[in-house]
């Protein structure tokens, strides 16, 4: 087990810089998830930690030591790949044991270690099968097993769940989280799925265009997003973003004052973010009035798309008594739940 820290980490391919100075400290035993849209640099960062990509600038430290110039094998890390990277011609036993090939321990100990890992992953009965005879979830477990068998200081996961179907993904998500609680090793997990990030992480690192947008616990990034990007990226459905203006009376959106506070100069523009959960459909007077344009029933709740003064917002309505389609409805929001962003998209606190 070890800490991990990135200091001004830069990656450039020729003259194109793709990572622009990443700073991050990961505590020992922490589960950190890197999340962001494709091309944001999250996988590149992970591969630099692994030593599969050269570091163009800055430092990667594992357990306090700079590892920039160490070979992957000398960094005491293990990685699980998106396509699992388990060898089709080797049995599960050989695949898991592959990570122990260079370990200086007696053969009997290696066998014991493989059996232990297989037991933790409930793969004991499959040890002599070939990967082709396994399901997607089982292959995933073999890949995790191969990483675990070496007892590394840091586990690196590169979008390991994206090849699984939705149901299996939820199950494996839970298994990885349980595994972390059990073995307590530091984990860096890369995903583009914000639900995975929210459900698994101790801390989430949200990236975009080679920059870290925000680092925080799932609750922090959800309730106090640092900027409009984070606000919209985290949470499903996405946060509603409404164009408003600061007037002497308060914040005005779609012709109505929805909060009696003036967090900036009177007359300046402000983006008001409201989570669909915080926007309730009410039959009588509320903050906004509009017409229901689309309904998306989800069972327990129904998402209502409401057109308010030319801007479409999503609100959560009760699943049993949703408003009728094309009905004129009112939407209320507690002013305390508003997220305000300035013209650059930075949160106004």
């Amino acid at each position: 087990m070890a800490t991990l820290s990135l200091h001004n980490l830069v990656k450039a391919y020729g003259k194109t810089e793709v990572l622009h100075g990443i700073n991050l400290d990961v505590a020992d035993g922490e589960f950190v998830v890197f999340v962001g849209p494709s091309g944001c640099g999250k996988s590149t960062t992970l591969r630099m930690i692994a030593g599969l990509e050269d570091v163009s600038g800055g430092e990667v430290r594992i357990g306090g030591a700079v590892v920039n110039h160490l070979e992957p094998k000398d960094r005491n890390i293990a990685m699980v790949f998106q396509n699992y990277a388990i060898y089709p011609h080797m049995s599960v036993r050989k695949n898991i044991g592959f990570g122990l090939r260079t370990a200086k321990m007696p053969k009997a100990d290696k066998e014991k270690r493989i059996e232990e890992v297989a037991a933790i992953l409930s793969m004991t009965e499959y040890l002599d099968r070939k990967p082709a005879q396994l399901s997607g979830g089982q292959r995933q477990r073999v890949a995790i097993g191969r990483a675990m068998v070496r007892d590394p200081a840091v586990f690196l996961f590169d979008e390991p769940l994206s090849n699984l179907d939705a149901q299996l993904r939820t199950q494996m998500r839970l298994e990885i989280k349980k595994l972390h609680q059990r073995v307590g090793t530091t984990i860096i997990f890369v995903t583009h799925d914000q639900v995975e990030a929210m459900t698994m992480a101790d801390r989430i690192v949200i990236m975009k265009d080679g920059h870290i947008q925000q680092v925080g616990t799932p609750a922090e990034v959800f309730h106090q997003p640092a900027n409009a990007f984070v606000a919209q990226f985290i949470g499903a459905p996405s946060m509603n973003m409404l164009q408003g203006r600061i007037t002497a009376d308060g914040i005005e959106v779609a012709g109505r004052v929805i909060a009696r506070k003036t967090p900036g100069a009177v007359g300046s523009a402000v983006t008001v973010g409201i989570r669909p959960d915080d926007l309730r459909v009410t039959p009588d007077a509320g903050s906004f009035a509009g017409r229901v344009s689309v309904l998306e029933p989800l069972g327990a709740e129904t998402l209502a798309y409401v057109d308010i003064g030319g801007q479409e917002v999503v609100a959560r309505a009760d699943g049993r008594t949703p408003p009728p389609l094309r009905a004129q409805v009112h939407l209320t929001v507690d002013p305390a739940n508003l997220h305000l962003f300035d013209a650059e998209g930075v949160a106004i606190r």
């Binding site: 070979e71 992957p72 094998k73 890390i77 396509n83 990277a85 011609h89 592959f98």
Partner: protein, 298 residues
């Protein structure tokens, strides 16, 4: 037409499939299966191409069994196979493996290796034949002489001639094998290598335990393909030894050349047919054995 319209979709597909297949099947029957069958029949007959065909039973095969030239040729053919296939495969794999890692001039190098494959065998054989000539004509001997070494009798020696012919034959096939190997190497996901790098296994282990096992389908294909090529070697030998094809003293003569001479110099068609049947049997056996050995369950 009405009958066609009443067919189910499946039946219509069958009709179309057979419609398209009819032509190649007809072609194969006329061009391949009939002559093959005819050759087998002919191997039990005596025929000089013009006169009547006479049944002679197993006489052609008995003659072949007692023909010392046949055994010499049989041995030569297998020397071409046993030396040619492994050498060309190892060479082409090593080149492909290194070329796969090369970024600089990658395309140019690949093209250079592929070039001999595009060249006419006859032209190539004659150029190599020139290389092998004695001083002052031959390139190799001129070079040796300039360094003060004794001349080497490449094509006129019974021991050197076969290897001398084998070298250009291997070289000619290399380009194709390299391309196939490179395609095989490219098909192996890079994450396999990255995972191995993280696990810290040696390059040697990666080669033997990851690369080669995963290349097995490619290797099977190339072994069979290249073996058939060496068992049927003809043009290189014929063109490099035109004064005395297969010489000196039959030391380079492969089975196909013997068949050619029996058929079109001696006009002993029945005997040639018997040799052809033997060649066919050898090709079939070697290919099947190789497929069997190399195709074992991964």
């Amino acid at each position: 037409m009405k009958r066609y319209r009443n067919l189910s979709i499946r039946q219509k597909q069958v009709v179309w499939a057979w419609g398209f297949l009819a032509l190649p099947i007809l072609f194969y029957v006329v061009i391949r299966f009939y002559p093959t069958f005819n050759a087998i029949v002919l191997s039990f007959q005596s025929w000089n191409l013009l006169g009547p065909r006479e049944w002679v039973g197993l006489e052609n095969y008995v003659k072949l069994w007692h023909d010392p030239v046949f055994w010499k040729v049989f041995r030569n053919t297998f020397v071409y196979l046993i030396l040619g296939t492994p050498i060309s495969l190892v060479l082409s794999f090593v080149i492909a493996y290194q070329l796969d890692k090369t970024r600089l001039l990658h395309g140019t190098l690949r093209a250079l290796y592929f070039l001999p494959f595009l060249t006419s065998t006859v032209a190539m054989a004659w150029v190599w034949r020139w290389f092998y000539q004695p001083v002052p004509i031959g390139l190799f001997n001129n070079f040796l002489a300039s360094l003060g070494f004794a001349q080497v009798n490449f094509l006129n020696s019974t021991s050197n001639a076969l290897p001398s012919i084998l070298i250009p034959a291997i070289w000619a096939g290399l380009g194709f094998q390299i391309i196939i190997f490179m395609a095989g190497l490219r098909a192996i996901p890079t994450s396999y290598y990255e995972a191995a790098r993280i696990d810290g296994v040696s390059g040697w282990t990666i080669l033997w335990e990851i690369t080669l096992p995963l290349l097995k389908p490619t290797i099977v294909f190339l072994v069979v393909f290249s073996s058939i090529g060496f068992l049927r070697i003809f043009d290189q030998v014929f063109n490099m030894t035109t004064n005395n094809p297969g010489g000196p003293l039959d030391s380079t003569k492969p089975l196909v050349l013997m068949i050619y001479q029996t058929a079109f110099s001696s006009f002993d068609m029945g005997y040639a047919a018997a040799q052809t049947v033997v060649l066919f049997a050898i090709l079939l056996t070697v290919s099947l054995v190789q497929l069997r050995i190399l195709r074992e369950k991964p």
